[in-house]
Amino acid sequence: MKNMSYTFFRHIAILMFSAIFFSSCSEKEYSIPEGGADLQNDVIKRSLGPNLVGLDIEFAYAMALPKQKGKILWAQVEASIAGGEETYLENKSYYTHSGSDEINGGTDVGVVIGKPSENQGAKTIVNFSRDTSAATLRYFYDVPEQARGKKVEFTFTAKSSDGSTVSYKMGPYQIAVMDMVLNLEASDNQACYLSIKDMTFYSAAQAATRPQEIDLVYLYRGELNSFGHALVSPGADRQYLPQVDLPTGLSRSTKMRREFGLRDQQLGNPKYGIYIDDVDFQQLDVSDSPNYALNLKEEAGAWLETQDGTYRAYVFVNKIDNAGAKATLSMKRYKLK
């Protein structure tokens, strides 16, 4: 019995050792992958975050065929909704510089492959003049007003001299309902009356001509405790509007909630990967919030909803200037009605 158990465990041990030994000993030699025999293509989407009207959606379109089979004749992108005037397909093929020096290493190098692209309705075409069998072109879709709140699809197509045609579909991509404005300059006692409808700061004289469109007043009171840079509704309690001589008729009350740590990438902070999207505005509830936001700091912000419930917005503080009593603000705005 003793011999039997010893033999049994010895066999088990040998079996396990063999399994480990053999499984770790296989060696695969690397070989360069074989390219396809025909014209091929591929696409990646380069831009991130919500797709906003007025901004670009960027793609990289790669196409290639074996050199002996011929060359590429043209490349085309067709969008389901025609892009804006700034839509284009680059006439340069990019590769990454392999140099090790700090200046060139890793940078994109463009090689011209044809004339600049032409837009024909929803199609954008580049005709190749360079004899090449491989290229990667970038496509920039200028999101038009007609696409707001809709979905957009793209069909990338390339044709080669051997008569082959390949296509690649991308999307659909949702285009956001919201608007965005960057780098609004607010100045205490000057351009300090903010209209969410117009996404603009007005002076007191200008505000007096449109009192029902002024939602907030920007002011800086560095001498007061916990006040600093602030956005206050014209209809707020007077203690939150110290030394402010409001133009006649301004009375709107905008509910708002101050926010720290929400640094939207599109509103001016490329180092953070945070994006405010339509859904954030749809779910926003500031009904029990005050109608002012005091002591705003750089990279802080405030969620808000206009008194008439037409707009919700997020105001981001890009920069503050205590000495000049100024601030630079950016805004994403969502129309509810």
Binding site: L224, F227, R258
Partner: protein
């Protein structure tokens, strides 16, 4: 072989039995252990705004004899949307529980939170008195 099998089975049996031998400790209605500790006090108090940033202008003054917490908040603080945070004596708990934002806007009727000791025999009601900083 038989001896190895018996040893292995004994080991398994021991593993199953031993953890179940510990003595049952009493638990309260919240599923928290009731211990022997009679300490009952607030050791620290924090008050965060809706943006999760403190709204205090200085440290809260905690009087464990009078059972009061005096805290001054910044001018303009949104008193309807605050998150209080209590640090308590070991094993103590708070009643009512804090499950979200709390409305402290009624300054005439300050909020009262009761600290209950680890043995659940001592209860001390603490009153949170808020004052607002002058601008």
């Amino acid at each position: 072989m038989k001896r190895y099998t018996i040893q292995f089975l004994c080991m398994l049996l021991s593993m199953a039995i031993l953890p179940g031998c510990s003595k049952d400790l009493p638990m309260d209605e919240d599923g928290l252990l009731i211990t022997d500790r009679a300490e009952c006090y607030v050791s620290n108090f924090e008050l965060l705004g809706a943006d999760f940033i403190t709204v205090r202008t200085s440290n809260a003054v905690i009087d464990t004899m009078a059972c009061t917490i005096d805290v001054e908040v910044q001018f303009g603080t949104d008193l309807k949307n605050l998150y209080p945070q209590f640090s308590l004596a070991s094993d103590a708990k708070l009643d009512p529980k804090i499950v979200g934002k709390v409305d402290f806007s009624d300054l005439q009727n300050p909020k009262v939170y009761t600290v209950i000791s680890g043995n659940r025999k001592v209860r001390k009601p603490y009153t949170v008195v808020i004052s607002i900083q002058n601008p």
